[in-house]
């Protein structure tokens, strides 16, 4: 089981890195969603997998118990990751609507070198 999970982490990680190398912002975002889940899997895996044992012991004398801390960490990370990803998706949508492209090579508004009226926009 642990080996399987490790392999899964490896495969997903390479897939997500490949996707994030893309110029297409949407593809990049999918890569980001994947890689944040890979990070969660890593935490889950390195915490040690205990099959069929409860994380919370009631009577105190059961010897088999699962480490609940990685699960708590993963839960926190999932919640945070979900928030960030949904924010990023909306940001990408807004950026697409405003700039009109999802190709990051063409998203150069913020870094134009020459006197372009867009670049001069005042701060507030």
């Amino acid at each position: 089981m642990e080996i399987l999970l490790s392999l899964l982490v490896g495969v997903l990680m390479s897939v997500s890195v490949w996707m994030m190398l893309s110029r297409n912002l949407v593809k990049f975002l999918f890569g980001l969603v994947l890689i944040s889940n890979v990070a969660n899997l890593i935490i889950f895996k390195v915490g040690g997998l205990t099959v069929g044992a409860p994380p919370l012991i009631v009577d105190g004398d059961s010897l088999q118990y699962a480490n609940s801390l990685p699960q708590a960490l993963v839960l926190t990370a999932i919640v945070i990751g979900f928030g960030l990803v949904s924010f990023t998706l909306v940001l990408a949508l807004k950026a697409y609507q405003a700039i009109g492209t999802v190709d990051v090579d063409e998203m150069t508004l913020a870094e134009q070198r020459h006197d372009d009226p867009e670049d001069q926009e005042k701060s507030s």
């Binding site: 390195v46 040690g48 960030l84 701060s123």
Partner: protein, 519 residues
């Protein structure tokens, strides 16, 4: 006095909530926010006072003892940085009242600003690695909100890059934390400091250390991971840029300092060497980048990167002396960056543009303001007796101590080069006569922008700028106390016994040995 630590985090959080919920009046929101940062400043000063006179304070959340629960701890470094953070928060909040458009304020500008401050303070205070990640997220999500608030096209474009790279850094940080937990079975930083040397597979520890280096390096805008910074900072309102430039990157440096002294201390000399080289390259590229740009804000953004290089040097040299220099530089850097960006904001208001070509004649118009800029610029360059001089002197002194000739040469060279972009701002914006027909025709936003952005700077803009200048002058003329504090903070960092005793008062003597063997 355990409540103090929590109060330092809660005050900006409560301020954030109050400024959004309690009123919809624009001015009232600003006033609440300013009041909140005054309270934070007072608390921070009390905290610093207590830490200096009675040692680090710690607090175990929920009553769970140290390795189990989440620890909050304030040592000298944390307390100093929180005071500086509170000063920046106060000045930026005042500045923002006169600078940020009404639409942005009703969109929750002050809420996000205060949450950002809460995240920064939390990151400085936490003694738990996963908790550090959470505070980074608090900081990050507030900074995202500030980035896109009231966004135009340019702002959105900058935001996409900022968000993308920061999310990657977040994932790396989370992975590194997960792996370290797998290796040691603990997340408490003090406990990690004891357990990491006991890990058998030290090669894996080095890998994890590099993951932390990359993750925090992105946050701190270290070469070669700094490209997001100049791509996004200049698209923002000045109040946001000031707080980003002053605080966000420095939190990354703080995290680097903390992890590489406490969890992965000196023995990884390869990493120290890497930090040193990265520091050198970062500061050279920062200053070169500053030379190539014509927008005041972009020039300053590259100076932010340059100063990150100086702090890395201190960390890379790895002695208490060098660390003290880096800490002093950090205090100086945070304040001077906030000040310079606010001055840039005033330049923009007076001249109607941030492009050097369109500015001019400000010296004739406002000689006193010109002197103020000159003072801040000279302080950044490091002309005695201003604060930047002491910061650079301390680094050179540490370099001499290590016989690191290269470091000394680079520090002096880069300081000289820093002169060029700043003097360009001086000669273009202040010295040369005003270009014909500016102010009205060439600035396209004059017709579009609403409210305070086109009006001449008012009291809200002048108060924080004058206040910060005064603080910079004070640091310049009376650097003794702060150098002393920085040195204490550095000693505590390099020799974490006090830190460990505070967090883990009951650690067994068997656990102490491997740690001391390593020092």
């Amino acid at each position: 006095m355990n409540g103090l630590l929590i109060a330092c985090i809660l005050v900006p959080m409560v301020t954030a909530a109050l400024s959004f919920v309690s009123t919809s009046n624009i001015k009232a929101r600003g006033a609440i926010s300013v009041a909140g940062s005054i309270v934070l400043l007072a608390l921070a000063i009390i905290l610093l006072y207590q830490v200096v006179y009675s040692g680090p304070l710690s607090n175990q959340m929920g009553g769970w003892q140290a390795p189990m629960g989440i620890t909050l701890i304030a040592d000298t470094l944390s307390a100093m940085l929180i005071v500086v953070t509170a000063i920046v928060a106060l000045s930026v909040n005042i500045y923002a009242m006169g600078d940020v458009s009404d639409a942005r304020i009703s969109g929750g500008f002050f809420t996000f600003m205060n949450m950002l401050i809460a995240g920064v303070v939390g990151a400085f205070l936490t003694g738990d690695l996963f908790n550090l990640y959470v505070w980074f997220e608090v900081m990050l999500i507030s900074s995202f909100a500030l980035l896109v608030l009231g966004g135009n096209k340019v702002q959105l474009d900058g935001a996409v890059k900022y968000v993308a790279i920061n999310l990657i850094s977040t994932v790396l940080l989370l992975t590194a934390i997960g792996l370290l937990y797998g290796l040691t079975g603990t997340l408490n930083m003090a406990d990690l400091s004891l357990r990491v040397p006991q890990v058998e597979n030290q090669a894996l520890v080095a890998v994890v250390a590099v993951l932390f280096l990359v993750a925090f390096g992105i946050k701190a805008a270290v070469f070669p991971l700094y490209f997001w910074l100049p791509a996004s900072y200049h698209t923002l309102p000045i109040s946001v840029t000031a707080v980003f430039a002053a605080l966000m990157t420095k939190v990354g440096i703080y995290a680097l300092m903390r992890t590489f002294t406490l969890i992965f201390p000196g023995e990884h000399s390869v990493i120290d060497m890497t930090l040193l080289c990265l520091g050198l390259v970062t500061m050279v590229l920062g200053v070169f980048g500053a030379m190539t740009h014509n927008d005041v804000r972009r020039i300053l953004a590259f100076h932010v990167i340059g100063s990150i290089g100086f702090m890395l040097l201190g960390l890379g040299l790895g002695s208490a002396l060098a660390m003290g220099a880096a800490i002093f530089y950090m205090v100086h850097g945070i304040l001077i960056k906030a000040l310079l960006f606010m001055i840039a904001g005033i330049i923009g208001k007076l001249g109607g543009s941030f492009e050097l070509a369109r500015l001019g004649g400000l010296y004739q118009e406002r000689p006193k303001f010109a002197m103020l800029f000159l003072l801040a610029a000279l302080s950044l360059i490091g002309i005695p007796p201003l604060s930047g001089f002491w910061a650079k002197l301390l680094i050179i002194e540490a370099g001499l101590h290590h016989d690191a000739t290269v470091v000394i040469i680079f520090v002096i060279l880069v300081s000289l080069l820093t002169f060029i972009p700043l003097i360009r701002i001086w000669s273009e914006a202040f010295w040369k006569p005003k270009p014909f027909g500016t102010r009205t025709s060439t600035d396209p936003s004059n017709s579009k922008a609403i409210g305070p952005s086109v009006s001449p700077p008012d009291g809200y803009a002048w108060t924080p700028v004058l206040g910060l200048s005064l603080i910079m002058l004070l640091i310049g003329f009376l650097p003794g106390k702060i150098i002393e504090l920085s040195d204490t903070a550095a000693q505590d960092l390099m020799n974490p016994t006090v830190y460990l005793d505070t967090v883990l008062p009951n650690r067994s003597s068997a656990q102490i040995n491997p740690n001391e063997a390593q020092e």
